[in-house]
Symmetry: C2
Subunit: 196 residues, 2 copies
């Protein structure tokens, strides 16, 4: 009844996502993808017209997975301080637990052309970013909300990005990879900004 086709397509994408996340678009061949999926390369072209499309759909699946988180991170009614703490905590968990998502995002911001970036911004980040701006305004009304939002994202994301080399850098301790420790550090860093 055609249900297998859809299922197989999503399965292919699920298997493909970590490959693109770890090796990049140019670093993964259709043969490698096919091998990982368990079919021959030619069969991939039954599901996707070309490699580009396969990549774009993998992106869409990887990013769509977290749409809920993006929208739910701001629902709870609480003080700005509590909401900021919650948000930082959830962001730390997100980047730590879905490395594929984070890496794909990083690569896409690096390599995506203008058209793809605009799509990513509008369809994935717009609402989330807007909510973050609003949160920033609520606890730091005198600050530029856009700059604050980027700063908070940078604080969380860079601690994750630098993880592969961090263990070789001066002052490293194992606890520095713990999302709770990192989240707590970032929250106290920003706490002074909060107007009580």
């Amino acid at each position: 009844m055609g249900k297998n086709k859809q299922k197989t397509k999503a399965e292919i994408l699920t298997i493909t996502i970590p490959l693109f996340a770890n090796e990049g678009y140019a670093g993964v061949s259709m043969r490698q993808i096919a091998k990982a999926v368990g079919i021959k390369a030619a069969s991939l072209y039954h599901h996707f017209p070309d490699k580009q499309t396969l990549y774009i759909e993998a992106l869409a699946q990887a990013f769509g997975k977290h749409a809920d988180f993006m929208n739910e991170a701001f629902t709870l009614q609480a003080t700005p301080e509590q909401r900021l703490r919650q948000l930082i905590h959830k962001l730390c968990i997100l980047v730590t637990e879905d490395a594929d998502f984070s890496r794909l995002m990083q690569r896409e911001i690096m390599d995506g052309d203008e058209k793809r970036l605009k799509l990513l911004a509008d369809q994935v980040f717009s609402d989330f970013f807007h909510d973050m701006n609003r949160l920033c305004r609520s606890f730091a009304p005198d600050r530029d909300p856009h700059l604050m939002t980027v700063s908070i994202l940078g604080l969380v994301i860079y601690h994750y990005q630098i993880a592969p080399i961090r263990c070789f850098l001066p002052g490293f301790q194992a606890s520095h990879n713990d999302p709770d420790i990192i989240g707590q550090h970032i929250f106290t860093l920003l706490k002074n900004e909060i107007e009580l």
Copy 2:
């Protein structure tokens, strides 16, 4: 007298660096490099035994270029506050003005194997990171210096990383790409940390 060989080698690397920075290792072919340099692909193998070596030497040249900055950022005698402001300012200028350096670094942290990352950490960042830890201790003695150092780097670097998509995100203004504006924002964000 063999002086041309050295000169040409450095010239090749200079031309190659932006290619690897923009397209990544797998995204650039020896033929593309040769074309950019203005010679044939086979001639590249007179200077470098293989593509890997060419890439590594390009990294070395791109990173070595900023060794002075890394070491000079902490020489001036001043209050911790002044030194922090100076450092943030110089970092903002660095990542803004040498996009190739920043992108290569980002790719290398993402894709480098353990051996290359250890080399990068020891030979490029060790002293700089150590100095940053010391600076952090001087203005925020109660904080973990490693976490503080990474946070400061993340604040600066992420504002640069997100630049390609930033203009599509809510609240963007042209001034958000100005290193002076970003630097000022980050400094005031950290200023509350400073023990006067």
